[in-house]
């Protein structure tokens, strides 16, 4: 009886592992439509932001399309992958700050958490406050962190969902200069 169960288990296990492997293989090799869409260079949706730490209101309109590409990143203090990619951001910022503007926009609903976060980490890149509902609706943000590359004219060149390693981030940022 036990032998029969083990055999059935074994066959099903092999099938499922094979299936998952096949799915993973085909899925990661598929065409990336999000990237293709971004390539169409649509204008970046305008949202309202607040400066950190002063909380002065500013529109994204005033910050993009000024002749410099922009790296827009949506994150939150409670999001481990967001926080995890920040050391890379911090390391790359000095190299890019003269040729690109960074807008690292937190969607935290408890804005004091961002203050506490920066007090602890003291990152060099510019942080902004964004409203999570507005950002989600305008940019269709489904998950964070989401990185958006905007060209010097204010159009979206590239979008990446999920955290990035240092090399991937560098390649992503370099995309603005091709």
């Amino acid at each position: 009886m036990l032998k029969k169960i083990l055999m059935v288990l074994g066959v099903i296990f092999v099938l499922i592992v094979g299936g998952v492997g096949y799915l993973y293989y085909t899925v990661t090799k598929g065409p990336d439509m999000a990237k293709a869409q971004a390539m169409e260079r649509k204008p970046a949706p305008i949202i309202s932001l607040k400066t950190f730490p002063e909380k002065n209101s500013v529109s994204l309109q005033d910050l993009i399309g000024k002749g410099k590409p922009v790296y827009l990143n949506f994150w939150a203090t409670w999001c481990p992958p967001c926080v995890g990619e920040m050391p890379h951001m911090n390391a790359l910022y000095p190299q890019y700050k003269d040729k690109m503007d960074f807008i690292i926009a937190s969607v935290d609903s408890k804005q004091d958490d961002v203050v506490a976060f920066q007090e602890k980490n003291n990152y060099s890149f510019p942080i902004y406050y964004a409203d999570n509902r507005e950002a989600a609706e305008a940019y269709g943000i489904q998950g964070i962190p989401t990185s958006i590359l905007i060209d010097a004219e204010g159009n979206i060149i590239n979008i990446h969902i999920g955290s990035m390693g240092k090399d991937d981030m560098q390649s992503f940022l370099d995309g603005a200069f091709k």
Binding site: V107, S109, K110, I144
Partner: protein, 40 residues
């Protein structure tokens, strides 16, 4: 005993709502937990 616990439960929930607990849950539930779905 059960009545006391129910009061505690209601009190906790009410206090949690008062201190922004619902907003906290809402902000997290309305973004895809990328880690949770295996992306990170």
């Amino acid at each position: 005993m059960r009545k006391l616990l129910v009061l505690l439960a209601l009190g906790c929930t009410a206090y949690g709502v008062y201190t922004g607990g619902v907003a906290t849950v809402l902000q997290k539930a309305t973004f895809i937990c990328l880690e949770c779905i295996g992306i990170g």
